[in-house]
Symmetry: D2
Subunit: 278 residues, 4 copies
């Protein structure tokens, strides 16, 4: 039976890769509906994402691609079915709200398994959408104890990604490593960037004329982790810090939703501390 | 001797094109330094731009590609040497000035053969850059008579593109057809678009909050022609129409220079009344 | 008792207006917390918006301002209480969804009285937020008959503004005149602008590189009506028209919400077919 | 004789300032062609910029304004004549080139007194515009010795502002203090911001999706100094650091020219480490 797949390949670059990979598709009489490649010349790494359709068997295709690519190749043949996601949030509703509206609309190419929060503020909103909400309070607990409860909860679900939709707690290295390349975050980041508590207040005090937001994978780098999407909006001296925060929320939610759509459509490769976005 | 080329192919889409084309490169032991394809699914048309390097002979490569592609294929194997351009302008200096500064800097990947204008306003500026300037007055002449003089002048030069850097006269169909797909123009276009005399005044009277500019190939379509690049800037009720014009100039010059760089690097395919920009 | 008000004045310009108006405030010992003026030099019209606080009586203040301003002056002294709004929508959820999330969050400075739709698609979503939803079908009815039902419904509510959040029916002149300067709409508008059915398909076929949206007051002008806010996003040849539509939705919802916030905060003056936005 | 002036006032906020100041204008029968105020509520500071026209004597007007404003008031009554500027640059031509084209066009509301550079690279370009160029080499000199030569040169000119158009040397505290609030700089700044050598390479290695630029007053703050204008452009994984630099140059030049126009029109107040831009 005719079917579709997204084929993602990344490996060290070598001569003939496009030829060898497209030969595998050609020999199986597959259509290439969409094809994008990129070579990071600096580190000689090859990235390719193809959307193919036709008669094929996933494992066979994967094995055939394995044979024609270098030993280090990561090959993923993915059927385009909705991913499963877990959302973590705290109190603010703009980022999670934007996802929920898209979800209710059928625009989000994902199944939301549950929402986990360290506060119960968002419980009402989430329940309006018939999605399980779990309140895991952090008061009186060490970071590790709190995360133990969260991880126990997460372990009850199958999922592809954890989306931090303004989850305001810092994650431990252990947590991040457990879900490597599976955690997406939205970060308020500015020109210049402000780290730490109340970045909008810092931005206000610095008198910036532009504020922005960054969606990224969460890693244990001191810095943020591979950036998926960024955007900005102009502000002026008439913006008090609360106005900046309000304006910033619009950018945050749009950038997170944009990044999430890219990730759910398997359009993002992690390349060290950078990304390749097709 | 090792050399580089840009290979541009467009033809009706069919199964195996990427495979067959990359096989031609592979068989000649060429490196693919950069590769981009796009299929316009609606009209089933295939576009590909590859930067290759290695030992090859241009005609032989072109013939080999001809053999593996459909009969309608347009195949261009282009050595990455600077293009030759002719600039046409009228009185305003912002668009041509931006090109001249890039030219003086060596940033522009082109040789400016000459500047042709229906006024002598820009003569001083152009001569500062040691570029031939020709004043071809239009007073008292029909459009056809004036263009006859311009075309006689153009015929003395070898060139790849004519850049209309705020050339304020409408071109005849005959002129446009003579230099098909060779004329690039910058158009002040807005939200909503304003056509005709003094578009900035129209935009002002309409009370728009954003103004923009469009760089495009010139065709004989009623409408503009295939769009290469567009950009916008915000304005407010505080902008009189001259302020809008001033702000618009910055967008116009940046958009034209951006489009020109794309065209000079052979990154733009014309696809009917649209473009594919790699 | 100390209170706050927004004072909005527009009238023909004449010498001394700022002096005379600020004298009224000064004589009553009011604080000016925020003050913005604008003179449209072309038509010699004066606009002023002041946020004042102190001990005052609204009618007395209004009368005092009347006395020092020209006969044509429109003077509004408005207490900063939440406005009442009616939302009209059709099937798409992005624009209304964005408003609902802000509403649930307490960010929207308004009370949503009800949602009226010519379809029942959005009923489930609206009811999640405990807001009355009225389905007023249009099938088999003339435009006038349908609007008669809608207006009967509207007449049961007190309201300040009607927000068309992707309401896809054209309103009659009679409807628009009934609620003059009270109807806000979001319009998909592009570079160049596309009017009529399926503008995203038209934009796709035109090959634009930017799409945008316009929030405006609804009038009976052939054209749109006074523009409140506009914004755009870049697109490319890789966007099919459905991708453009999806991208356009993000701009539409943000622009509508931005315009709505401006209107709810009494920051927008209508100035002929333009606006002054403070 | 009828004349025009820009009146700039900043002082601690107190009740009645708008009234008292506009009374001074009213008593002299002056027209207010444009008027903007802003109160920084956090530090209770008042800013006002008025464009007035009529029959007046500058000193008398200044004195009258002094009388009605708090003791700390800084009052400037400025005739709108072109300012005099000195440009300092190093090797790159994009920022200075953009200024020169505007200058040649008459768009720049300033007289360029001279260009000073620590290299002779730009001499040819500057001389094309008949502007004095001074090469002050820094080789073999301490920072202080080099600046001594520069300052000796500067002292020969009357000027209002020094524009650093990609001047790549760090200025000493002594230099900065000598020309307090008179030095404008363009800074490549990103999301997140990169300080130090080759910021574009740092941005590339961080994998940012947006790069930007900041125009600001130069101060001795560790950080940059009051920001006048900022802007950004999107980039992608396909940009090598030289592509980022090339794209960044377009933003740098536009942002510097925009900031310069604001400063030359007396539209910028320095407010601590921030600005108020009218």
């Amino acid at each position: 039976m005719e079917k579709k797949a997204r084929v993602l390949i990344d490996c060290r670059d070598e001569k003939g890769l496009v030829y060898k990979i497209s030969k595998v598709f050609y020999d199986r009489n597959l259509n290439i509906d969409n094809n994008r490649e990129f070579v990071d010349q600096e580190i000689e790494k090859f990235f390719m994402r193809s959307e193919v359709s036709g008669m094929f068997e996933i494992n066979e295709l994967q094995d055939a691609l394995k044979e024609v690519t270098p030993a280090d190749a990561r090959i993923r043949v993915i059927e385009p079915t909705p991913k499963k996601i877990i959302i973590m949030a705290t109190k603010e509703s703009h980022a999670i709200g934007d996802i929920l509206i898209r979800y209710a609309d059928g625009e989000l190419d994902a199944q939301i398994e549950c929402v986990i929060s360290n506060h119960d503020t968002l419980e009402g909103l989430v329940r309006r959408f018939d999605i399980p909400f779990f309140h895991v309070p952090a008061e009186g607990l060490s970071r590790e104890e709190h995360e133990k409860h969260v991880m126990a909860l997460i372990s009850e679900f199958e999922f592809d990604y954890i989306v931090l939709a303004k989850y305001m707690r810092i994650l431990t290295a252990a947590f991040v490593e457990t879900y490597e390349q599976k955690i997406i975050n939205i970060h308020h980041s500015f020109l210049p960037a402000f780290i730490g508590a109340n970045p909008y207040k810092q931005a206000y005090e610095r008198g910036v004329k532009i504020i922005g937001a960054t969606a990224h994978y969460v890693t244990n780098d001191l810095d943020e982790g591979p950036i998926i999407a960024q955007d900005v909006i102009p502000v002026s001296h008439r913006f008090e810090w609360r106005d900046m925060q309000r304006a910033g929320r619009d950018v945050e939610k749009i950038v997170l939703s944009r990044a999430l759509a890219l990730v759910l459509n398997d359009r993002v490769f992690v390349n060290g501390n950078k990304t390749v976005v097709f």
